[in-house]
């Protein structure tokens, strides 16, 4: 049986012949003696590094999609790393919907894998029970349950008593509830991996064990081959599935590829069988409050967990000493053992078999890393599974294979995209500190608006200290510190920090007063984190390339600002930005903070190699202050001795002017919220001066600091979509009511034009809609967050993408997409405004449905400003 391999290498060899006989590998080398005899091919289309579940899954899916010329290299033996040691739980209990989809696909794949390949995978549908010891945890489970059920995955919220009916050993006395997902399964992950490898090799994939990659060869930013200890292989594509070694492998390149992940030790316990052996289909228990998981294993149990004090390792790269130190550490495991015995007191007399130490790799944001490197074309990565490799293996491999073959995956994988990180997340110290926070987080309660505490204060605005001294509370985005809100002096800080709740947070009034000030007077928000690029050229090249890359018409008079999307071939948003024409040949481009790497890579990829065309990242050169409010005009005109009224400075206009003593400040009449005001792009050395001047002059107009939470409330009540939150690569401008920002007949072709033309004719299948919660009590009910299912006339039609409390409407506002599924075929039909308007809507927050009113256009009557419709700036790229 495969499990024995967990225990000794000797048995691996004894088991091996059986596996070999069932497989039809021809090219596979199975021992070191043989390996030297079969030489590596000189070239291939794809080289995959890593024979764990990720590498084999990518190989499997690539070969399924028709690519045959693939070589998989494994430094040791197949499925011998984390894959061999992991607990083999396949669970769809995930917070992110993309992760949920990957797990669901994996589950279905593994289920039929044995039939497909003839190799036993140990697949057993056990179901899983996630326990809640607290009310907050139960809310968190209910939120997942409502997402699972709209995915068609059966699940049920249970009372403690029902739990004991499902599992014989469990102590339910400290439980408040649980979630039962009957379709979840367990597998032997090593066997799954071998089955995938087997199937892949039948499809023509060559697998070479005991071959290690030393580095990837790159020419002109493209992969050309790999260098191994057994010679070179030329290739077009390289896939880094090296698990916890992926980081080191990425750095070994001449032009390093930053793959931020870091390994931590992870322990689980194996026991001998119980007196009355546990049934193999006993449900898997996940007790996140107790930080443990428990599954049935060979009549006994397998139980591990994610402790509060992880032990990171391999920080300095592969270290022989550390590898040898991978022993059982019982003292470290003690809290988890206590927790296990508390959950199942009947196990006291059960005999221990082994404590397994298997390192797992973790990423800075607890989401896996996949996709193409922003710097090296053809260099793909799939790693950093945060110890959910078995659950994600199938799905992640499928998406990556689609990405390589089709140029993009079939789902929005931006939350997992390697390009959400840059080189700034690749410091070893940062990774070591951050994963120590991430690993416990796996079982920590995930409450809304959670911020990492480690690895902070990396990128800051020059005003950081000033704002901090004035009570700023900070959040981090792409390493940049941004103020959330400002705690007024005299507030009890100790109490404020304990405000992590699914209900009304205690910053409610603070943000409310900031919003009020934005509406009635004037506020300053430091928005320096936004990505800022400058594109200039000697001739018209800059305009030409931008016209091709963006859907709106950029051939506007100097000084104008254009909101536009950067679309892909399907018409989906790759980026959403504001572009100011600074002069005839130079453009200033503002994008969301986390677009810094992605947008850069996209531009670089599509720009002609022309030395007269210059693209520069000027993010660090400017401090951005957003001056929001009706009195912003007064403050700025007093500081610049220039008239700032709409007659002199119309909306969406950009001018370089002096503010205070400082000259050359880029003033733009937009605020990203729909409120009147200005964005000031200030060369950093003037930042403090301009800020001080604004605050002192603004005093008589009631100026105050505000943070992103206020901005968020403002933009959501104005129905502004945010890229990365509301918009993604699968959303077109037509689907979110932005036809007016697409100039199909601007005279030049642009990426995505054909797709939009077609969509315009056929109509859209989803529509961005604003919902106002009707019977929701802000003080007493659970708050919406994002990802809540939307029901129309009782039928599921979509999910929310963001939500906020609108202090103006005194209601919650949710934004989300409405689809129209055919009741029979589940096919997506065209969504018309009429369809939207003629429906009764409900939003499901953790299982409780609230009536909502749907709107396709923002309330203009409630807000008092008179603006022409074409001036409406509907943009926003602020944080969540």
């Amino acid at each position: 049986r495969m499990f024995l391999r967990l225990l000794s290498d000797v048995r691996w060899w004894t088991v091996r012949p059986r596996w070999k006989s069932t497989s039809s590998f021809r090219h596979t080398t199975t021992s070191s003696a043989e390996s030297s005899t079969i030489s590596l091919p000189a070239q291939a289309q794809v080289v995959i590094c890593g024979g764990g579940i990720m590498g084999t899954s990518v190989a499997y899916h690539l070969s399924k999609l028709g690519w045959k010329d693939i070589i998989l290299l494994e430094q040791g033996r197949l499925a011998a790393g984390s894959t061999r040691f992991c607990a083999g739980i396949v669970s769809t209990v995930r917070h992110l919907s993309i992760e949920l989809k990957m797990a669901d696909y994996s589950n279905k794949l593994y289920q039929q894998l044995e039939q497909e390949t003839g190799i036993k995978t140990g697949y057993m549908k056990t179901g899983s029970i996630s326990l809640a010891q607290t009310q907050d945890r139960l809310i968190s489970l209910k939120r997942i349950a409502s997402r699972l059920s709209v995915m068609g995955i059966p699940c049920e919220i249970l009372a403690p008593k029902q739990v004991s009916q499902l599992h014989p050993l469990i102590n339910i006395h400290d439980l408040v509830g649980a979630m039962w997902v009957p379709e979840d399964a367990v597998v032997s992950s090593a066997d799954v991996s071998l089955a995938l490898a087997n199937a892949a090799s039948q499809n023509g994939v060559q697998i070479h064990e005991r071959t290690s990659v030393s580095h990837v060869m790159v020419q002109k930013g493209c992969v050309t081959g790999v260098e191994t200890d057994r010679g070179q292989i030329k290739c077009q594509y390289f896939v880094n599935c090296a698990g916890q070694w992926a980081y080191e492998l990425g750095l070994s390149n001449e032009e390093p590829v930053s793959i931020p992940l870091h390994a931590c030790e992870h322990f689980y316990l194996l026991t001998r069988p119980l007196k009355k052996p546990l049934e193999s289909n006993t449900p898997t228990i996940v007790d996140p409050d107790g930080r443990i998981y428990i599954r049935s294993w060979q009549g006994g149990i397998l139980s591990g967990g994610f402790e509060k004090n992880p032990k990171p390792l391999f920080t300095e790269g592969r270290n022989q000493l550390e590898i040898q130190n991978l022993h059982e550490d019982w003292d470290h495991f003690e809290p988890l053992l206590s927790s296990l015995l508390r959950r199942m007191p009947g196990l006291e007399a059960l005999e221990i078999m082994q404590l397994v130490n298997c390192p797992e790799s973790f990423t800075p944001d607890m989401r896996c890393v996949m996709g193409e490197s922003p710097t090296v074309q053809g260099y793909f990565v799939l790693a950093g599974m945060n110890s959910a490799g078995t659950s994600f293996g199938g799905g992640a491999g499928k998406y990556l294979a689609e990405w390589m073959v089709n140029g993009c995956p079939s789902e929005n994988v931006w939350p997992l995209d390697l390009k959400r990180f840059g080189a700034l997340q690749s410091s070893r110290t940062f990774l070591r500190h951050r994963v120590m926070e991430v690993m416990p987080l796996i079982y920590d309660l995930k409450v809304p608006r959670w911020d990492f505490q480690t690895g902070r204060q990396l990128r800051t605005s020059p005003l950081y200290d000033r704002l901090d001294a004035q009570g700023a509370r900070w959040m981090e985005k792409h390493g940049f510190e941004r103020p959330k809100y400002f705690v007024p002096p005299g507030k009890d800080l100790l109490a404020l920090d304990q405000s992590k709740t699914f209900y009304k947070p205690d910053w409610f009034d603070i943000v409310g007063s900031e919003v009020k000030c934005c509406k009635e007077a004037v506020c300053v928000i430091d928005m320096s984190s936004f990505t800022k690029f400058e594109i200039s050229s000697t001739g018209d090249q800059a305009l030409e390339v931008l016209q091709y890359l963006f859907s709106n018409d950029l051939d506007v008079p100097v000084g104008h600002i254009v909101h536009t999307g950067m679309l892909n071939e399907e018409g989906g948003y790759e980026n959403d930005c504001s572009i100011a024409r600074v002069n005839k040949r130079s453009f200033f481009m503002i994008s969301p903070t986390d677009q810094q790497i992605h947008c850069w890579a996209w531009l670089k990829k599509h720009m002609p190699n022309d030395s007269n065309l210059l693209l520069e990242d000027v993010t660090w050169k400017y401090t951005a202050l957003n001056l929001i409010g009706p009195r912003a005009v007064d403050v700025l005109s007093e500081l610049s001795y220039a008239p700032m009224t709409p007659e002199h400075f119309p909306s969406l206009f950009c001018k370089e002017m002096s503010v205070g003593y400082a000259n050359g400040i880029r003033v733009m009449s937009m605020t990203h919220t729909g409120e009147p005001g200005f964005m000031l792009y200030i060369p950093i050395e003037y930042a403090l001066h301009v800020y001080n001047e604004l605050m002192s002059v603004g005093q008589k107009y009631g100026i105050r600091n505000a943070g992103y939470y206020a901005l968020r409330s403002l933009r959501i009540e104005k129905f502004f979509a945010f890229w990365g939150q509301d918009l993604d690569t699968f959303t077109t401008p037509l689907e979110c009511g932005r036809e007016f920002r697409v100039k199909l007949d601007k005279g030049t072709d642009f990426i995505g034009r054909d797709a939009l033309m077609q969509q315009k004719q056929e109509g859209v299948c989803k529509r961005f809609t604003m919902f106002i919660l009707e019977d929701h009590d802000t003080d007493l009910d659970l708050w919406p967050w994002w990802g809540e299912p939307i029901y129309r006339n009782g039928l599921y039609v979509g999910k929310t993408t963001s939500s906020a409390y609108s202090y103006t409407l005194e209601r919650h506002v949710c934004l989300g997409f409405v689809q129209h599924f055919d009741e029979e075929t589940r096919e997506a039909l065209v969504v018309t405004p009429d369809f939207i308007n003629r429906g009764e809507y409900e939003i499901d927050i953790a299982g409780q449905r609230f009536q909502a009113k749907a709107k396709l256009y923002p309330f203009s009557s409630v807000f008092t400003h008179r603006r022409r419709k074409d001036e409406m700036e509907l943009s926003g790229y602020h944080g969540k």
């Binding site: 907050d136 053992l337 015995l341 404590l355 209900y503």
Partner: protein, 570 residues
Amino acid sequence: MLAASCCDRRMCVCPGPRRIAIPVRSSRLPLFSDAMPAPTQLFPLIRNCEIGRIYSTVCHCHHKHLCCLSPHLAHNHLRCTPQKKLAALCCPKENFNPFIHTRSYVSTPQRFYLTPPQVNSILKANEYSFKVPEFDGKNVSSVLGFDSNQLPANAPIEDRRSAATCLQTRGMLLGVFDGHAGCACAQAVSERLFYYIAVSLLPHETLLEIENAVESGRALLPILQWHKHPNDYFSKEASKLYFNSLRTYWQELIDLNSGETTDVKEALINAFKRLDNDISLEAQVGDPNSFLNYLVLRVAFSGATACVAHIDGVDLHVANTGDSRAMLGVQEEDGSWSAVSLSCDHNAQNENEIERIKLEHPKSEEKSLVKQDRLLGLLMPFRAFGDVKFKWSIELQKRVIESGPDQLNDNEYTKFIPPNYHTPPYLTAEPEVIHHRLRPQDKFLVLATDGLWETMHRQDVVRIVGEYLTGVHHQQPIAVGGYKVTLGQMHGLLTERRARISSVFEDQNAATHLIRHAVGNNEFGTVDHERLSKMLSLPEELARMYRDDITIIVVQFNSHVVGACQNEEF
């Protein structure tokens, strides 16, 4: 009551938060409104809102597991617990109380406060260790050395510590001093008391020798060798004044020469009383130098308790005034630890003290003497240095204050006369002295201010120090390999190991180790880093509400020397 920090840091003459309370009828919540007039009148410097904030944190401070319990519980706890230390509270508004939530869903507390190295740097800032030097590879002293440390809660800290070796007689002096109403008195006592004790112990000839040396301007015989942490300072300005007072004392001793050998117990009592007398006298006489004049007044109007140990061979004397404590750590034959108290607390929990005070005053005052466990309803310790407000007649107080500097005159506290003040003095600095002959099983002595004793039981203190000093913490990693072990057995083994390991590794100083436990212990008696860092990261003005200044000296005895001494004598 609860001026969290002193009204004026520089002056430090306002009432400390803990020791002196303003009388109110009750400390319970429902009656707070009654208490309003007194505090506002007396603390004009505290704004209303601050009182609110301070109050809300007081609630916190009064249940020990503040980090672990839900706010809900905290509130209940508050309602049923009489306020022990802070007799007066005021409740200006209803809405500030953060615990009365409509919901109790508040979840995970913030997790990262201070990193372990930051915690350590705070804990170790004041640690000091002294090892008695060895001669010829042998340590002939009964004392191996001592570890001391202190952790401030007040800003500035009001505790002081002193340690010195007597050079003209044998023996070592160690003491902790807990100041109140400022740190001036504790500072003065920490500088001066050991000189008074040393002088009291000196034989007649040595006193003469010293006096002659001073007379003829020759170099003085050194009396004490101090063992000071760099943060422990002596006042330069007052040294001349202090020296003169001390000289007067030894001159009197020379004149009084009884010819008898000096009894340590008597010497300790005399030294305590004499110093307190000098403090009082210096304040009455004043000083032409306005700075010194103000200093002596601050010393006299503030107060300090003292707990001093004198160790000479197997003779251990502990002289105690107030509510600091000396605790002997005794290792029983089975290796377990027990605590032997070598001092009596002079406070309302000590019936003998209440009896003593009642005997010293007319029967008519019986009811007003001790109220709410405080002397005259105000002072927690029943014996102390300084505190002339409880010693001088009303006339004398008024005279001194009126002729004193303006700063003194402006201070509401100094002008305030305790209620029912009829037959002063109500307070004495006379110590209670306990003599103990050291035995080989007496391993160490812990001297600490009440900041430690109110957070930890003496038995725990002795056990923690004992285990620390004997170092039972070195453990091999466990491996199951080949043995039949059940989960239950393993669990028992691990729990035991963890209890032993706790945080011993981090400390090189027994006093630091003890403070770590005192501040960071959770309900299971193990150090909880989260709690520790939370307690240490409290803002200065809140810290005092959660904990008191803690000062600890741990003296380790040399059992071999003690054993040898014993054998010689029998």
